[in-house]
Assembly symmetry: C2
Homo-oligomer: 187 residues x 2
DNA sequence: CTTCATAGCTAATGATCATAGTCTTGAGGT
DNA sequence: ACCTCAAGACTATGATCATTAGCTATGAAG
């Protein structure tokens, strides 16, 4: 019963994301994916040239969602440090809600330019707040904050923090420690 | 000419590591691996029950090498902050020398206990220095430093720092920023 | 010089990604 | 109403991969 399309790029990416979130991280098979959409594997090639392109689309969507999560936060916040902590918490919350997706998006190596805009869109709102905290070198400290948050989240998801403790409180503490370091200007 | 073993677990892991470092990150096929060792794919099953076990062995070896890189540094250093910066630099240098291996080791989710000892061995020397810097909560700040270093390295390798700049200098700056935050004790 | 555990082999299975070519639908012009 | 034809999904096929079963040749030990 073709012609009125039964699926779309969006629906495929959505279904792929759900499958990734369930099974093992790279267990996404086109057969599974097609079945969950009610179509046959070759039909997927109408929408994506190959599996790698499909996964790239999923990863770009993940980055876009991360951006969407970060944007709304800085509302009437006057204290830039409070705003940055709020963003960091939102970021971490998203990653915990979609751990496999998040890991997948950050295990790829992005050599193409197609990701630049997406990454920039994610970075700019953050950088705006960093600039109000660090007098100079806001790009460096934007990267520092991102590294800190991303690293913490990845190590959590990968179960590398095996020695217990309150990981929520530790996260806040660590982010605030970095922001304190920013305040005490030196070098 | 069987019986005198032609390969060993160590040689297999070594060859696997070289193949991983070349091709795409998950392109390691048992056929390739066997060919590079001069044997046939089924022979690998004499040494590992399956491919996942082989990759786990490779990842544990990666973590062990990271430990070995971190241990020798703190020699006659008296300043704990200088020691921590030196360790951070070594860690980053290793990751840059074996980027694919490093990414592979940290994209897995370690649910088993077999990794605990390896991780602990990597963490303890670091924690020793952290304790001399942070008056309290050394475990939290050990995790913070690790997250910072790991996150920075991963984002570098994944080419997510696309806006240029001196990434070496930025790394030092960021690590020192966190250490400064540790010094300015608050909460 | 016989035994036998060992290390590697060949062959076969089932799952996967990918491609080529075919059939069916239904929108738009006649 | 009907014909055209591009779009969408299908069947069928090939190549590659991980894995299993069972066989063969080596060489150390008695």
């Amino acid at each position: 019963m073709p012609y009125p399309a039964q699926v779309s790029r969006e629906r495929i990416v959505l279904a792929a994301s759900e499958l990734v979130e369930q099974g093992e991280i790279d267990s996404l098979s086109l057969a599974q994916l097609a079945q969950s959409l009610g179509i046959r594997p070759p039909s997927l090639y109408r929408y994506f040239p190959n599996k790698a392109a499909l996964i790239l689309a999923l990863n770009l969507d993940t980055l876009a969602q991360l951006t969407a999560v970060n944007l709304p936060t800085p509302q009437a916040q006057s204290d830039p440090r409070a705003a940055l902590l709020a963003i960091a918490r939102n970021y971490r919350t998203y990653a915990h809600a979609h751990p496999k997706r998040y890991l997948l998006a950050f295990s790829a190596v992005y050599t193409e330019d197609s990701t630049q805009q997406v990454l920039l869109a994610m970075a700019l709102p953050l950088q705006q707040w960093v600039e109000q905290t660090a007098s100079s070198d806001s790009l460096t400290h934007l990267r520092g904050l991102w590294a800190l948050i991303h690293g913490y989240v990845v190590l959590e998801i990968s179960r590398m923090f095996q020695r217990g403790g309150d990981l929520d409180a530790a996260f806040d503490r660590i982010v605030m420690t970095y922001l304190s370091g920013l305040a005490s200007r030196e070098t």
